[in-house]
């Protein structure tokens, strides 16, 4: 029962984060909402594992955490520099 309530709360949070990602208005709102959806996916994985009585897949949540970081970092780096391969030392004489 407790896990069902937690899952329902997570679904509401999913909807709110998706709404923020759709409405914007700035790219930062969307990037933050995307990161939130990734974190919520981790939480839903954990809650769903306990909801169905099989929490064996909890390790996969760790991978989700790493993937979420890569995606958000890539978006923010692109927004800051307009180039993923940006290197501050590039072009300088050694």
């Amino acid at each position: 029962m407790m896990f069902a309530g937690a899952a329902a709360a997570l679904l509401v949070a999913f909807a709110l984060a998706a709404l923020r990602a759709i409405k914007g208005p700035t790219v930062f709102d969307r990037a933050l909402a995307g990161n939130t959806v990734g974190s919520l996916a981790i939480l839903l994985l954990a809650v769903f594992g306990f909801l169905t009585g099989r929490p064996e897949f909890l390790d996969i949540a760790l991978t989700y955490g790493l993937l979420n970081l890569i995606g958000t970092l890539a978006v923010l780096k692109f927004f800051r520099h307009g180039d993923l391969a940006y290197d501050a030392d590039e072009g300088k004489e050694p």
Binding site: A4, A7, A8, L11, F14, A15, A17, A18, A21, I22, G24, V27, R30, A31, A33, G34, V37, G38, L40, A41, L44, L45, F48, L51, T52, F57, I60, T63, Y64, L67, N68, I70, G71, A74, V75, F78, F79, G82, D83, L84, A85
Partner: protein, 186 residues
């Protein structure tokens, strides 16, 4: 409860997809696509396909986000308004979607034990996998032993696609850096 979670997630998927179509800022579309992938991965988890969910999250949310952003670096970050009418593409996609839904109508119900897919070669894999291959994990045995040529072909395709992406992104970058520094003769 599983049905409710699935319905909520699938509704959100549809909403995010429509938002991606309407959205004109391509950077926002990339972020929405990453959200779509995480939602899809959650749907896969609820459907008990954990391996597919892991692939969806790593390919959809991480790798394709990075690749799409690298592509945005080479193009504009704002989508132009379509020059031609939208009626034909809309009709075409509705027709293809309708045909796909029509195709699912004759499928056996989800999780049926005596569906054809469970009767064809699956019993042999489950019963004889240890004797024939000696691999304790059945999925690994199917991918790397029974279907090894198929897997070799898939790996070749992915290898060639990777080379193509590297040539496209790396080749263009070298060209633009040569144009950017014409005073350097070396």
């Amino acid at each position: 409860m599983e049905t409710v979670i699935n319905m909520a997630l699938l509704t959100l998927l549809a909403v995010v997809t429509v938002a991606m179509v309407v959205q004109r800022s391509l950077l926002s579309v990339v972020i929405l696509a990453s959200i779509y992938s995480f939602l899809m991965a959650s749907v896969m988890i609820v459907l008990d396909a954990v391996d597919v969910a892991l692939t969806e999250a790593s390919v959809g949310a991480a790798v394709s986000t990075v690749l799409l952003l690298a592509t945005l670096h080479l193009t504009k970050t704002r989508e132009d308004m379509p020059r031609h009418g939208r009626a034909l593409p809309l009709l075409l996609s509705l027709a293809v979607g309708g045909m796909l839904v029509w195709g699912t109508l004759v499928l056996p119900p989800f999780g049926t034990a005596n569906a054809p897919i469970h009767q064809h070669v699956a019993p042999r894999y489950i019963n004889d996998v240890m004797a024939e291959t000696g691999v304790p994990n059945i999925v690994t045995a199917v991918l790397a032993d029974y279907r090894s040529f198929d897997t070799l072909g898939e790996t070749t395709v992915i290898f060639i696609a990777g080379i193509g992406v590297m040539l496209l992104l790396g080749g263009l970058r070298r060209q633009s850096s040569e144009e950017g520094a014409p005073e350097d003769p070396s």
